[in-house]
């Protein structure tokens, strides 16, 4: 059941590819770092050097309430809420693998593989490869629970959307603004035609440090081009039925508001919790697959820091 859930969020092919890339980077970086002299070139023109060898591994044990906008899907078993994760972060000479530590589960969900192109005092430009959207398939959705089975059954599997992006990051005193412009592809559609699109993802995060708490307030706005949106919530002629008429989706936006808090329990354990509210363009509701254009996700758990 859990495997199917994972498959729904990350198809096996994509998962294996990501695991391969991650491990290759992890072990090659560790091997290279053992021989490295840790020398960094510093010049007046480049006040901030690229990241040296650093690593961190975190085990995450979180409970996540994660409803979908697809056909009223939400968890209906306790096990569905428990989403453990292994978060690996590593950097070496500008290359980095960066997990999303505020996010549990999905094994590699949110993990970014990147290279720092340009690093300055208060801004930088990176090349990024990451999964921008999670996939799903009808069986896993039905098993996840709560949805309209007739509406979902027989849908072709939707893959995760992998994107190659250029990211601009601007650092403020206690805040960070990022802008990704990504060329993205989820793979082939129902007619074996390769789907390609654009994703423009912006995010602003503000840190409030209160006593031993880190509280992050975040807001994001993301644009998904028509091809990408249609891949997920469009209904092709091959999939149409009485319950779901054929539908071609438009491009659209997703706005997000989130709050996340972290508090140390000991030198190894951290308590963390967060809430994210997402709202999508109204037009997504025109799809017969979509039940609502808003979703609130809640996470609470602990992390073990190695």
């Amino acid at each position: 059941m859990l495997l199917k859930k994972i498959q729904s969020t990350f198809p096996i092919k994509a998962l294996v590819t990501w695991l391969f890339i991650s491990n290759a980077l992890l072990f090659s970086a560790i091997g290279a770092a053992e021989e490295a002299s840790f020398h960094q070139e510093v010049s007046e023109n480049k006040p901030v050097v690229k990241d040296d060898f650093e690593w961190q591994i975190i085990l995450d044990f979180s409970f996540v309430y994660d409803p979908k906008i697809i056909a009223g899907i939400e968890q209906d078993e306790v096990l569905h809420y428990f989403m453990p994760g292994l978060l690996v972060d590593i950097s070496y000479k500008g290359f980095f693998l960066q997990s999303n530590q505020r996010r549990s589960s999905a094994l590699l969900g949110g993990t970014e593989f990147g290279y720092q192109l340009l690093v300055e005092d208060d801004w930088q430009i990176d090349l990024i490869a990451k999964a921008y959207m999670q996939g799903f398939d009808s069986e896993s959705l039905i098993e996840y629970g709560g949805g309209d089975e007739e509406l979902i059954s027989g849908l072709r599997e939707r893959n995760s959307t992998l994107g190659l992006a250029v990211r601009y990051s601007k650092y403020f005193e206690n805040a960070l603004l990022t802008l990704d412009v990504a060329a993205a592809t989820p793979g082939d559609d129902a007619f074996d035609k390769n789907v390609n699109g654009i994703i423009i993802d912006s995010f602003y995060s503000y840190l409030i440090a209160y006593r031993n708490w880190d509280i992050y307030l975040g807001t994001g706005l993301t644009y998904f081009s028509q091809d990408i949106v249609d891949y997920y919530i469009g209904v092709s002629s091959a999939e149409s039925s009485d319950a779901r008429p054929e539908h071609t989706a438009n491009g659209g936006f997703r706005g997000q508001l989130d709050i996340y808090a972290q508090h140390p329990i000991s030198t190894s354990w951290t308590f963390n919790t967060g809430v994210t509210h997402s709202f999508f363009s109204n037009s997504v509701k025109e799809s017969p697959l979509v039940d609502t254009n808003q979703a609130t996700q809640v996470m609470i758990g602990v992390q073990y820091v190695f």
Partner: protein, 141 residues
């Protein structure tokens, strides 16, 4: 032959004397230890943990001291002149102090008359993540 015996006895004496000295020293240490444990000064929690190295750690720390003898004394945070409290003819205190520091802090009890340290205890500051140059951006979902 005789000289060898004398030498042997002398060596044995020296060894015994050395052993006796060590035992005396150990005994003295034990006595000091007893005297030290007679007055117990503790801090709870002993450790304050922050998320990141270098960041100030906050805690409400309970300091407790108990001694067989009564003293006139004041409580100080090491490195600061202002006392956190003073007591007269007392052998037991229990006080809560607000801790805020990015490094370990010692608390001392000093006599009023000659500023002699009666006892001291420490609150250690630890962290989970080493302070690195890495600037990060994480997002929940």
């Amino acid at each position: 032959m005789y000289s060898n015996v004398v030498k042997g006895v002398a060596t044995l004496r020296a060894l015994l004397l050395f052993g006796l000295l060590i035992m005396t020293q150990a005994s003295a240490n034990e006595t000091q230890g007893l005297q030290a444990t007679e007055a117990v000064f503790t801090a709870l929690p002993e450790q304050c943990v922050t998320l990141r190295q270098g960041r100030a750690c906050f805690a409400t720390v309970e300091l407790q001291w108990q001694s067989a003898s009564k003293y006139n004394f004041c409580l100080y945070q090491e490195g600061k002149k202002k006392q956190l409290g003073c007591w007269q003819d007392n052998n037991h205190i229990q006080i809560k102090v607000e801790f805020e520091s990015n490094k370990s802090v010692k608390y001392q009890l000093r006599t009023l008359t000659d500023d002699k340290v009666l006892a001291e205890t420490q609150v250690e500051v630890s962290w989970q993540h080493k302070n690195t140059s890495r600037k990060r951006r994480w997002r929940l979902f």
